[in-house]
Symmetry: C2
């Protein structure tokens, strides 16, 4: 099945205790599509500026990512800078220059309209709906969101949530949407809003899958050393959807295997700066770590 | 195998969004021994005051807990009061009246000296060592600790850690001991301090077992409603050690099964005020929840 992602492509300045990197290729659509790359090609819908040179483009095309939907606009590419606290518990944003992303209006090439798996990355909810409307007959739609939209665009976000099959959300955002409840109760409330499944991401504490099928939990793989956790959540979603895209048929077990695959790929992301570790990630490496993750909870 | 625990017996005033309870039987030795009760009897070493009436005593003796080592002192029993924030993220201590616990000097009855499994609950490290010295030939010794001793009695605590087989510690305390590192690295550093195994408790985020055998992780059971998390950590340790006490022979797998059992019992503790749910906990109920916990991570 083919996979489409809409989201951001950005230049990131990142500082962690392991070092720093400037103008690293980042953004949700970048991490997502590279994380899906060991399993399937994906179609990317995003916008970049005139400073997006061929070297950056090649990071995507080298992994067979379809960039026909990557719009070129006058101006500069979205740029973001952040500094992580010593033990990665907090992150301070140094700057957010939306640049061409501020006027992003996603328009899908005709060749993208038959997309079967769709991931609406974390952008303004009304833009997520715009993308969804341009797809003829999507088979499975997932979306991510963030506190900004939960606070400022709640009604539009609720419309998105009514129209998707899987919601990806982190635990803090989940409680911001539902109110302060135990996670299981918050999950039930999110499921009542529309989706069949909810994936609640908890960073270093793993992730839960609630909804159709049984409840499932995957731990985060414990790392000896963390280099840069930027994009781990987008990588999680990308590997999850990428895994599903290569399945012949989707059943409950497929989603559980997708969770383990997602945790494996997200852990690789954290082991390098930016997308460094994702660039050359192979299905074999992912499988090997997936087995290690399963072994963590097996008696 | 017989099991000994040294720790506190206390009266707790607890307030959560689910309600409040006053003069509830609490304390680390209480939660520990009641959590072990579905699996084995335990011997308790603690101190209570003149206000410790037969009704409280019966909560322990009804579960066949051996209270010969429960000292009676002039004065009042240790009392503590705490209020949990709405979603149980923080806890504010209202009062801590050490009372007879301030002069606690653990003295073991002669009948306790042959104890095989020993749990040194969270008390002053030098008192933990005093208890250990009074046991002839312990087969397996575990200990818990807290930030107070890590900060104020580090050298004595390190002596305890050198002399035990299993350290129980929560993730914040672990990093307070080792410095701010990824959990896996902190675990290696703790193992270098002496114990064969380290159990890192993460509250609602489950627990890790590091050391001899493979690394193992057990999630916390997601609850629809949390009533009172007081004593969940002590219950975890009690069920862990209780499970081991009933095993014919201890191998690596025993410790992994003990982790799952511990998570199951700790989740029951959170479903009632104080020790309410532990009072009547049966091996069947624990087994049933243990299976649910295993099912959470099985494909």
């Amino acid at each position: 099945m083919n996979l489409l992602v809409v989201g951001s492509v950005a230049f990131d300045n990142i500082e962690t205790r392991a070092g720093e990197g400037k103008r690293l290729l980042g953004g949700s659509a970048t991490y997502f599509s590279l994380a899906a790359a060991p399993f399937c090609t994906s179609r990317i819908v995003a916008v970049v500026g005139e400073d997006f040179t061929p070297e950056y483009e090649e990071v995507l095309t080298n992994r067979d990512i379809d960039i026909e939907g990557l719009q070129r606009a006058k101006g500069l590419t979205f740029a973001w800078g952040g500094t992580y606290s010593e033990n990665f518990e907090t992150r301070e944003t140094q700057f957010t220059d939306l640049n061409v992303f501020a006027d992003f209006s996603p328009e899908l090439p005709a060749s993208y309209r038959d997309s079967e798996l769709v991931f609406l990355g974390n952008i303004q909810p009304s833009l997520q709906m715009d993308v969804l409307r341009q797809i003829d007959n999507p088979g499975l739609v997932a979306a991510d969101t963030m506190n900004l939209w939960i606070n400022d665009n709640r009604e539009e976000l609720l419309e998105v949530i009514r129209n998707i099959d899987i919601l990806f959300i982190n635990d803090e955002e989940a409680l911001l949407l539902t109110g302060p409840y135990p996670l299981l109760k918050a999950a039930s409330m999110l499921l009542e809003m529309g989706p069949d499944r909810v994936v609640i991401k908890r960073g270093e504490h793993g992730a839960f899958l609630f909804g159709a099928g049984k409840n499932f939990y995957v731990p985060a793989f414990p790392l000896d050393d963390i280099v840069d956790p930027t994009g781990a959540g987008d990588s999680f979603a990308g590997a999850f959807m990428g895994y599903l895209a290569q399945e012949e048929e989707l059943n409950d077990e497929s989603f559980r295997k997708a969770m383990i695959t997602a945790s494996a790929v997200a852990s690789y992301t954290c082991e390098g700066f930016g997308v460094e570790k994702l660039k050359r990630l192979t299905p074999e490496k992912v499988l090997s770590r997936s087995e290690e993750i399963q072994d963590l909870t097996s008696i």
